[in-house]
């Protein structure tokens, strides 16, 4: 809305000074309507103006702006084009602004090439238009074209030597190129151009933080990042902090964040960041504690969802997880992700009717493709376990339509078809899965190899995968399943223990997961499970005490 008002205000001024009589009745009426928030009326008057005066560039300009606000993307392009054609360099700033809007429409449609060419048009109209350089820099940044990004920053800095923006762009480009010293120097130049209460201070501090991180000066980096986030939270800075926590062992990051939070306990952002960091370190008790602290300050369904997932998967308290999910539904009965969690939970707990009811509800409510897809996958698994193979296969195929890149699913479908007695269908599906996977990935996954009976290759594949994700409990658990199905019990037990060590506590899941059937008769398996069940009980008690102390 802000952009629209600025354009309109400039337009009003422009209308008064332009040579063409742009203070026409229709335009005045349109501006009045827009300023009253009545965009539809504004549009009507502007369209009327274009019919009466087809070359009135201002009418197209304002049309493009209003359509941009209303999200009428093709209209932005249409009217924007006419605005540029008829206004051209008469009103360079406004026209360049429209070109920038058009570039954003192209970007939203995924067309980077046309977006860049629109920015070129911006530059042709007005080489002083800042959006040209920042827009192009952003595109280059997203595409990893750091040299080009640097060039844009340079141009900006030449045109606006007193502005810090150009130096921020150049600094971030150098960071992208991993030339951190150069990046820091440029960030310092940006910092030198900082004015009192500069609204862009967070950008400068963010750039410095990234450069310092690259140089390994973590403490300074962290301080800058925190200061940046305190001014204005951006996802890139928060991500930087989390990356830092991964790179820097020990309590430095967490202690710093804890201290920051202590200074302003109402600022829950730091609690969420700390919870993410604890999670990445497999410290689920502290992850949960941070979320409890945040929930004590504010109602946050997303935090409750995260907490419920922790209770279910890592704190051996599925009932508590269920309670939290149902609590969310009391105030938000159309919460699709919660239903998705419930499907999985009820499936694990052997409550298939409840799982199916949740799945049906989820399917009714889900709007986004990804939610529908997840629901189909989970419901398929419920059907599969209920031996309703026909419905399971139907749901899996439907899921594949939403997620055609999920080639592993072909093998699951094949497995289910085999179980249902359709060996011919199973073979056909396995062949299709192999073909799809080879075309896309060039190799078969461990799960695919297992279904094809190639156990040695499956275990090799899982070993390779583990090299990249040793500390992820789900990966260790999956590895245990692969080894178990391949008949390699000792490796399976080793991986299962590792999964437990890294925090896996979903004992319900272990009970029904047929992938582990080869281990069930082994006394070592039961001993291992019981050992961690006891540990889980201790953890529950500890967490209860910590939460009570809050």
């Amino acid at each position: 809305m802000k952009k629209l008002l600025i354009i309109l205000l400039i337009g009003v001024c422009g209308a008064l000074t332009a040579q063409n009589n742009q203070s026409s009745y229709n335009i005045k009426r349109a501006l009045d309507a827009a300023q009253s928030g009545n965009e539809q009326d504004a549009l009507k008057f502007l369209v009327k103006e274009t019919k009466e005066n087809p070359t009135n560039g201002y009418a197209y300009l304002f049309l493009a702006s209003i359509c941009n606000e209303l999200g009428y993307n093709s209209a932005v392009l249409r009217f924007g084009n006419d605005a540029i054609r008829y206004l051209g360099k008469t009103e360079p700033n406004m026209t360049a602004g429209v070109a920038e809007m058009m570039a954003e429409v192209y970007l939203a449609g995924g067309d980077t090439v046309r977006a860049l060419s629109m920015y070129d048009r911006c530059a042709e109209i007005s080489k002083y238009f800042k959006g040209t350089y920042t827009g192009r820099a952003w595109i280059y940044y997203k595409n990893g074209r750091y040299d080009d990004m640097f060039a844009e920053g340079e141009k900006f800095a030449k045109l606006y030597p007193k502005s810090l923006i150009g130096y921020v762009i150049m600094s971030d480009a150098k960071t992208g190129m991993r030339r951190y010293m150069d990046a820091l120097n440029l960030a310092d130049k940006a910092y030198a151009r900082l004015e009192k209460e500069d609204e862009n201070e967070h950008l400068v501090r963010g750039s410095r933080a990234k450069a310092l991180f690259g140089l390994g000066r973590y403490e300074e980096s962290l301080n800058e990042a925190v200061r940046s986030a305190n001014l204005h939270i951006t996802s890139s800075v928060l991500q930087l902090i989390e990356d830092m926590a991964d790179s820097v062992p020990g309590p430095m990051v967490l202690d710093t964040l804890q201290a920051v939070w202590e200074r302003d306990k109402q600022q829950t952002t730091w609690l969420y960041v700390m919870s993410d960091i604890y999670r990445s370190r497999n410290d689920y008790i502290n992850t949960a504690l941070m979320l409890h602290k945040a929930l004590a300050i504010e109602e946050n369904n997303s935090a409750k969802e995260s907490l419920s997932s922790l209770y279910i998967n890592y704190l051996a308290s599925p009932e508590e997880g269920e309670r939290l999910l149902l609590e969310i539904l009391k105030t938000d009965s159309a919460n699709v992700p919660v239903y998705i969690e419930l499907i999985q939970l009820y499936h694990d707990m052997d409550r298939y009717d409840d799982a199916l009811k949740s799945a049906d509800k989820c399917m009714q409510l889900a709007q986004k493709d990804k939610d529908v897809a997840t629901c189909l996958m989970l419901r398929g698994r419920v059907y599969e376990y209920m031996h309703d193979y026909r419905h399971a296969v139907d749901d899996y195929f439907r899921y594949l339509i939403y997620k055609p890149e999920n080639h592993d699913l072909w093998f699951r479908i094949g497995r289910v078809l085999r179980l249902s007695g359709d060996t011919v269908g199973a073979e056909k599906v396995f062949e299709e899965g192999k073909r799809a996977m080879m075309v896309d990935n060039g190799e078969l996954t461990a799960e695919a190899l297992l279904e094809l009976g190639e156990y040695d290759k499956a275990t090799e594949a899982v070993e390779q995968r583990l090299q990249k994700s040793k500390s992820r409990p789900s990966e260790r658990y999956n590895a245990a399943c692969v080894y178990a199905m391949a008949g390699r019990s000792s490796e399976a037990l080793r991986e299962l223990e590792a999964a437990f060590e890294y925090g896996f506590r979903n004992f319900y899941h272990i009970v029904w997961d047929s992938d582990l059937d080869n281990l069930r008769a082994l006394p070592e398996f039961n001993a291992l499970v019981n050992k961690y069940k006891e540990k889980a009980e201790e953890e529950k008690i500890l967490l209860r005490k910590l939460v009570a102390d809050l």
């Binding site: 993307n73 249409r78 449609g109 529908v372 997620k403």
Partner: protein, 679 residues
């Protein structure tokens, strides 16, 4: 491509003519009539204008424009008028000259003379290079001719000045696809989708083709089905994807329906898909849903066809009668009723229905043909008489069908030489009709190799939608080839057909009437059909069963209530026991069911401890009961315990009851009422 034909606002024409100082009286009158959409009057004035002044280029131009409209189809006249206009107009009258060239381009395009069309558009553009409509038309004709590079260049030119034209991105994407510029093609498809709020059909078709080339079948299916739903018709789909991955196509269709389950067009399109893929049960389901949303009589025709495919003739007839209630003069419906009556052996009634159809549409050769077929068993001479009329009335694309049908009847009547004459006359059309029609002629002439070649091509193609299996069975029957006939009947049953009545009643198959193999095969077909009818009942019940209720009687024996239910089709008397957690069977029933195929190994789910009423804990085997029928309601996948006690009673427990919202015991009427929430 969506053709954009020139629609000239007459104000522009008038202004342009006026500006040139050439607006004749007749042109002005023509302009008025055009504005009122009275094209006949407009033409008349134009004719008068050119009679008055043969050099009135504007009148010639408007005449050319009107003639070129598709509804008139007077293309030769359009071209002649255009030529006269060009000869009369001054060269500096650029707007008009360009306009006339563009009209010529449109006309040549319509008569598929693409090189001439391209040249005409090029001339128009050489005079007025910025006319977007002509640029689009020029690009389109280049694309039609496979000249992708120039087509792409024109579309890009168009986009430069008109960046919001979603369809142009899609057309450009198609050109890029053919030029192998796949990344660009995908980007432009996505832009077309984005700018049109996902209303652009072509972009999805192109994305589907790309996905198929990349062997991404799920994505190919998804995109093609999306295109189908936007188009609201099956015609847009090739049969390739249906043949390659029918499960994925069905999954994609269901996904689309679920996005808008209460939209008439969506349900109708889904029904069309399932109709084309011969899943008549699912088709009926969606037809019912569509009908609930909008009671369109034509839906009953599709429903009737589906019921006929399942040999449910009463239901089919009911549907046809509903169409006639809305409009009693629909000849095709009487014809269809005739076909139905013929199939069930009621030839006399069939003849009456055909005659009614003929009375309503006396020029329709098909009705005479169908009537003749029914008359074969009643009056051969009259059959031939009707067949003669059919032949007489047949247009060129149907003459072969009429000729070989008559040849058959002539053969039955013992008139072999006349039959041969008809078949030879039919052969004369072999270059103009499809192989699927000529193959009947070959069969009747005994040209076995040609029949076999056609059969082989069907066997290898993905052409599941055309359902040639039944046709081939009848073709082999025409040659009295038992093996070929039975092979294709079997194939029909194994792929899609669920109708046995057709084979029982067809005159060509009489030679197999007492053949045991044929009888056995039809029994096989009957069993498939019955399963399909059961599926239909279940599907319809599920559709209705949002608030389904059923009552079943109970008896009291030894102080307990006993109810009759069916488990996997096998009837049992269960003790109604709300205190039991599961359904319980004794090992005796379980053994019986396993030995006789009512249970399979896949139904066994493991072991579980359970507590009996006396408080003791026993171990039992858990089984999955695929179907439990309680009165009219069918439940699926019910967990049951098998007790190792030969004398254990069969208990109906909570694993059944909790599928219902309410369970009520009515002692006065001795019924138990189960009310379902829907499964």
């Amino acid at each position: 491509m969506k053709r954009i034909f020139l629609i000239i606002p007459l104000a522009c024409l008038g202004l342009a003519a006026s500006a040139a100082g050439k607006m004749s009286y007749y042109f002005q009158r023509a302009e008025e009539a055009y504005g009122q959409e009275d094209y006949e009057t407009c033409l008349n004035y134009c004719r008068q204008g050119v009679e008055d002044n043969k050099k009135d280029g504007y009148c010639w131009a408007v005449m050319a424009e009107i003639y070129s409209k598709a509804a008139y189809g007077r293309f030769a006249e359009a071209l002649e008028a255009a030529d006269n206009a060009l000869a009369s107009l001054k060269k500096n009258d650029t707007w008009w000259v360009a306009f006339v060239h563009a009209i010529r381009g449109d006309v040549y395009y319509k008569i598929a003379d693409y090189p001439a069309s391209k040249e005409a558009y090029r001339k128009s553009l050489s005079i007025k290079p910025d006319n977007n409509t002509v640029i689009a038309s020029y690009a389109d004709v280049c694309a039609t001719m496979g000249e992708w590079q120039p087509a792409a260049a024109e579309y890009k030119k168009l986009l430069k000045n008109n960046p919001a034209m979603a369809f142009v991105y899609a057309e450009l994407a198609d050109c890029e696809y053919h030029l192998g510029q796949i990344k660009e093609a995908k980007t432009d498809c996505n832009m077309a989708i984005y700018l049109s709020d996902d209303e652009n059909i072509k972009s999805h078709i192109v994305l589907s083709k790309i996905a198929l080339d990349e062997h991404n079948l799920p994505l190919a299916a998804k995109e093609m089905v999306r295109a189908m739903f936007l188009e609201k018709g099956y015609e847009i789909m090739g049969d390739t994807l249906v043949g390659l991955c029918p499960e994925l196509m069905t999954a994609a269709v269901i996904n689309e329906v679920e996005k808008a389950p209460n939209d008439f067009d969506v349900n109708n399109t889904a029904a069309l898909y399932f109709f084309q893929t011969a899943d008549f049960v699912t088709c009926l389901y969606y037809l019912e849903k569509a009908y609930e949303l909008q009671e369109r009589p034509e839906l009953n025709i599709y429903k009737a066809t589906c019921y006929q495919q399942l040999d449910m003739f009463q239901e089919a007839q009911q549907c046809y009668l509903k169409v006639l209630e809305a409009d009693s003069l629909v000849a095709s419906v009487y014809n269809s009723i005739g076909v139905l009556q013929h199939t069930v052996g009621k030839d006399e009634e069939a003849v009456l229905s055909y005659k009614r159809a003929i009375s309503l549409e006396p020029d329709n050769n098909e009705y005479y043909r169908m009537c003749a077929r029914s008359l074969i068993n009643i009056d051969l001479d009259e059959a031939l008489h009707y067949m003669d009329t059919a032949v007489m009335l047949s247009p060129e694309d149907e003459i072969v069908t009429s000729l070989f049908n008559r040849a058959e009847i002539l053969r039955i009547a013992g008139k072999e030489s006349d039959a041969l004459k008809d078949l030879n006359d039919a052969l004369a059309y072999k270059n103009t009709v499809g192989e699927d029609e000529m193959v009947y002629v070959y069969a009747l002439l005994g040209e076995r190799e040609k029949v076999t070649a056609f059969a082989d091509s069907v066997a290898q193609s993905h052409n599941t939608a055309k359902h040639y299996e039944v046709e081939l069975a009848l073709i082999y029957a025409a040659m009295r080839d038992k093996q070929g006939t039975l092979k294709w009947i079997r194939r029909a049953f194994d792929t899609w057909s669920r109708s046995t009545a057709l084979f029982r009643s067809h005159h060509r198959l009489r030679f197999l009437a007492d053949d045991n193999d044929f009888i056995t095969l039809l029994s096989y077909g009957d069993s498939l059909r019955l399963k399909e009818i059961e599926r239909l009942e279940r599907t319809m019940l599920k559709a209705e069963n949002v608030a389904g209720a059923t009552e079943i009687p109970f008896t009291r024996q030894g102080g307990v209530c006993q109810v009759k239910c069916a488990v996997n089709g096998l009837p049992f008397y269960f003790v109604f026991d709300t205190g039991a957690a599961d359904v319980t069977l004794s090992c005796v029933e379980a053994d019986y069911m396993l030995k006789n195929g009512y249970l399979t190994d896949a139904d066994f789910m493991g072991k579980q401890n359970y507590v009996t009423a006396d408080g003791n804990i026993h171990e039992g085997t858990i089984v999955n009961l695929r179907e439990v029928r309680v009165g009219d309601i069918v439940l699926h996948n019910i967990k049951a315990s098998v007790v190792r006690n030969q004398n254990a009673p069969l208990l109906l427990g909570q694993s059944v009851f909790r599928r219902f919202g309410t369970v009520q015991l009515d002692n006065s009427r001795s019924v138990i009422r189960f009310v379902s929430d829907g499964e």
